[in-house]
């Protein structure tokens, strides 16, 4: 199942050229671009691991792409997302975030039903991959 979260996730995967244009747009707006990766893409998992520090003071998108390539080399079998942080007063939050790398086989989620008191049903969503230990989920 293809994970759809962040911008552009209903489009075909962005090529490196597409990503370059998006990054350049972010840099021209003065946002700090940032790379994160995870192998637990649950929508409520907001704590992805950071790839280095957010990149401030860049002028050209190629610098970010260099880092992305380095990250793919090591974490190519995980989800990698790129986000841009706007530090201007009043915003101080992410302005854009999109997935730039996915594992080859995305196994998706299953729904677990939990019976509560009387006839209550509670539901939870759980990634199939999570049963395997960290680092082995998509290999």
């Amino acid at each position: 199942m293809r994970i759809t979260q962040g911008c552009f996730s209903f489009l075909p995967d962005l090529t490196d050229d597409d990503i370059l244009i998006q990054i350049q747009y972010c840099l021209e707006n003065g946002w700090a671009v940032n790379l994160e990766f995870t192998d637990d893409p649950h929508p409520r998992n907001t704590y992805w691991e950071m790839w280095g520090l957010p990149m401030f003071d860049l002028h050209d998108a190629k610098g970010v792409l260099m880092e992305l390539d380095a990250c793919r080399k090591i974490h190519g079998d995980k989800y990698i997302r790129l986000s841009a942080f706007d530090s201007t007063h009043g915003w101080e939050s992410l302005r854009i975030s999109f997935i730039v790398n996915r594992p080859k086989d995305e196994d998706g989620f299953r729904v677990a039903r939990i019976a509560g008191p009387s006839r209550t049903q509670r539901y939870s969503v759980r990634g199939y991959g999570l049963d395997k230990p960290e680092g082995k989920r998509y290999t």
Binding site: L58, G63, M66, E67
Partner: protein, 309 residues
């Protein structure tokens, strides 16, 4: 299938067509860049010559690509060598803008660094530091001042070597993304290149900055003053001419930098003189003119006098 072949060649002019180089030259705006360089930088003939060559190459490459000929981005990494104060840094700052206007380099900004910005203090600190700088310089020019400090021969565990390796790799792989300019004094740079042959071969343009002669330095002094809204009286101009030839014979002469320092001190003396003249109405002329006495009271003249005695 034939259609496909046709489509490829459609946008290109037929092989027999002619493209006027002069027209292309006028369109590119390269002429004004070179003219500006000629006007604003005094002397430096070999430097200007090399920039003209690079401009010509980039222009011809553009025409070639119109004919569908292979054109590879040229290697533009440079090394500037020369004595102190010969304008290495000044030209490097210009170079970023020039290359950008020639259509090479996407952003046209300059990142100036020294050893401190590239080399870390402990193991594992250097690589992220160097990469950080390289990322910032992408699309522009990376200027490494006093580049020979990167390599310390006496200490083989120096982290400079690590930085050099990363630099070399990026210089090779990202040739169309950034231009690296190394600058330093000629003898030390020679030693640096000797111990790092990889650098020597990856740097395509070795430009030597010659010393200025006296008339060049006088002209440079006047340009500096003009940019600060000062001018020399005709006597002061003579005095500055004498000052330059005297200063040259003294130790630690640093070409244009010495002139800049001398003029800074002359401005101090001028301000002091105006102050000492007491309460009077100042004219625009008095405020902007450096007189001969502002320059002649320099230590350089006094030393020359005492030597003569």
């Amino acid at each position: 299938m034939n259609e496909g072949v046709l489509r490829v060649t459609e946008g290109l002019p037929p092989p027999a067509a002619r493209i006027s180089l002069a027209e292309e030259f006028a369109q590119s705006g390269v002429g004004s860049v070179l003219q500006q360089l000629d006007d604003e930088l005094i002397g430096l003939a070999p430097v200007k010559e090399r920039i003209r060559e690079i401009a010509a190459l980039l222009l011809v490459d553009r025409v070639r690509s119109k004919f569908g000929l292979a054109s590879q981005a040229p290697t533009l990494h440079m090394s500037f060598t020369g004595n102190p104060g010969t304008g290495k840094t000044t030209v490097a700052v210009r170079m970023a803008e020039i290359l950008h206007r020639l259509g090479y380099g996407r952003r046209g900004h300059l990142v100036a660094v020294t050893r401190d910005d590239l080399v870390g203090q402990y193991i594992g600190h250097t690589a992220p530091k160097t990469k950080e700088v390289l990322k910032k310089a992408m699309g522009g020019v990376l200027f490494i001042d006093e580049a020979y400090y990167l390599y310390r021969q006496e200490n083989e565990r120096d982290y400079g070597q690590e930085s050099i390796e990363i630099l070399l790799q990026v210089m090779e792989n990202n040739r169309d993304d950034l231009v690296v300019i190394l600058a330093g004094y000629a003898d030390k740079m020679d030693r640096f290149f000797h111990s790092n042959p990889g650098f020597r071969s990856r740097v395509a343009h070795h430009i030597d900055f010659p010393d200025y002669d006296d008339s060049d330095l006088l002209a440079i002094g006047e340009t500096m003053l003009a940019s600060l809204n000062y001018k020399l009286s005709s006597d002061a101009k003579l005095a500055l001419g004498e000052y330059i030839s005297l200063r040259r014979t003294q130790p630690l002469f640093a070409n244009a930098r010495s002139i800049r320092n001398a003029l800074d001190r002359a401005r101090l003396r001028q301000a002091n003189r105006l102050f000492a003249e007491g309460d009077r109405e100042l004219t625009l002329d008095a405020l902007t003119t450096l007189e001969a006495e502002d320059i002649r009271r320099s230590r350089v003249f006094q030393q020359a006098e005492s030597n003569a005695r």
